[in-house]
Amino acid sequence: MSLDRSQVENVAQLARIQIKEDEMADTLASLSNIMSLVDQLQAVDTEGVEPLANPLDAQALLRADEVTESNHRDDYQLIAPQAEKGLYLVPKVIE
């Protein structure tokens, strides 16, 4: 199948990725190509087949909800683009 421009713009918005005007044609073409490949799926009859999420059909293992780690906030914020007083800084969201 081929995608149209508005579909690509919508997906790029959902994924929060800016696509510049001069990249649009290439993006459209390569995504349409990939979607044509994966559309082979549609020909398979999967009526009544249970979807497989974990290849071993295993359930995630649970553990007791206990504190096992100490606080690493300062280490983690050392590599943040912008952090101050234990907070991550971003452009103003609320006026």
Partner: protein, 481 residues
Amino acid sequence: MLDKTIKQLSEGLAAGEFSSEELTRSYLKAIEAKNPEINAFITVTSEQALAQAKAADAKLHEKQAGPLTGIPIAHKDIFCTQGVRTSCGSRMLDNFIAPYESTVTHRLAEAGTVMLGKTNLDEFAMGSSTESSFYGPTRNPWQLDTVPGGSSGGSAAAVAAGMAAAATGTDTGGSIRQPAAFCGLTGLKPTYGRVSRWGMIAYGSSLDSGGPLSRTAEDAAIMLNAIAGHDPKDATSMDRPVDDYTSRLNEPLKGLRIGLPKEYFGEGLDSGIADVVHQAVAELKQLGAVVKEISLPRTELSIPAYYIIAPAEASTNLSRYDGVRYGHRCDDPADLEDLYKRTRAEGFGAEVKRRILVGTYALSAGYYDAYYRKAQQLRRLIKEDFQSAFDQVDVILGPTTPSVAWKVGEKDNDPVSMYLEDIYTLSVNLAGLPGLSVPCGLSQGLPVGLQLIGNYFDESLLLNIGHQYQQVSDWHQRRPA
């Protein structure tokens, strides 16, 4: 010394023929000489390596050494290594100094290995050629104008060129087995859940498996012994007993039932590859194996199923790169939305963006059932095909790849043609099975990989077959000129 196996090096260290420090210095020298041309390493950790080597020498001196003590290895730059840049081949993480250690690298360090550095990969492990890295392509040491495979291409090239004794890799759709095949190495993708994913930067979480790239099956067994096992930090890691993977290496293959899937020998397979794989089958028969044809009818459908499931999981996993907590952030964002969009547009390369967009589309409202759910249903059918095959045979054998290493740049503008190269490896990840690639010949002067696919948790059998084959063949001893 630099083309010896882990086993041989370990014996040399124990006998005092050389120290780990001498060995480590030799590898560092080889990296200095060869890496500018091959570009296998993104980061070389010389100081850390020498410190680890000295510690290993102390252990050796005290006769407290294990099979990996003092062995210099390289880690794919997808494993978080505390205090060392962990880039995942992306501009997004070019400045990311990991604040914690992955379980795989931690366990290997505990086992006494020396970390030489971090190896190149396709950006976020998305590729089959190690060309999409932010740090430029890695070259195949066998022919420098060809690709080493991917995504663990830096690891494969490092070992093949004698810049490390072995290396770690990850395999989401073939990313250990295919570069091992292209570079003449042994590569093991363990059963899903056998090796912890903690600290292994996520691509497709229901597919990702960490494992070794090494010179021999025996070395792969030694490496797997160190990294396999349950880890409470990974909820999908399986809590079940771990074999000593070296214990069955010497068992005879008499009566072993090998299945050859007819779909792995059909149209699209390079005839030179078909020839050497058939020769390997003949040698296994000589060792007592019984061979029969089987069918994995949905092999071709593994491509569309994979290229929905992996991108869908990737689009979710990579949403964490938002320019807020770590990694790249764009300059002067106008507002939060602009920060996200430009950070991600600048930080990710073309193939990563493509896969995020495809995955986002497949998961978006109105399309989920048609794509993601459908692909997961097909995934169950693919798993069932393998299960019926394992009712008849002990192991499945075929080529690892349909062609040998292609030329650097050859598939640049055609992602779909590269996706098709993964035809024999993808279904193994979809089913979560273990797979081993061992070198079995040359075609057009380039190495060919033989793939063995085992039943769940049957790594010991795969390594046994690989080891027995390597007792009667010498392809694993060939080195690039």
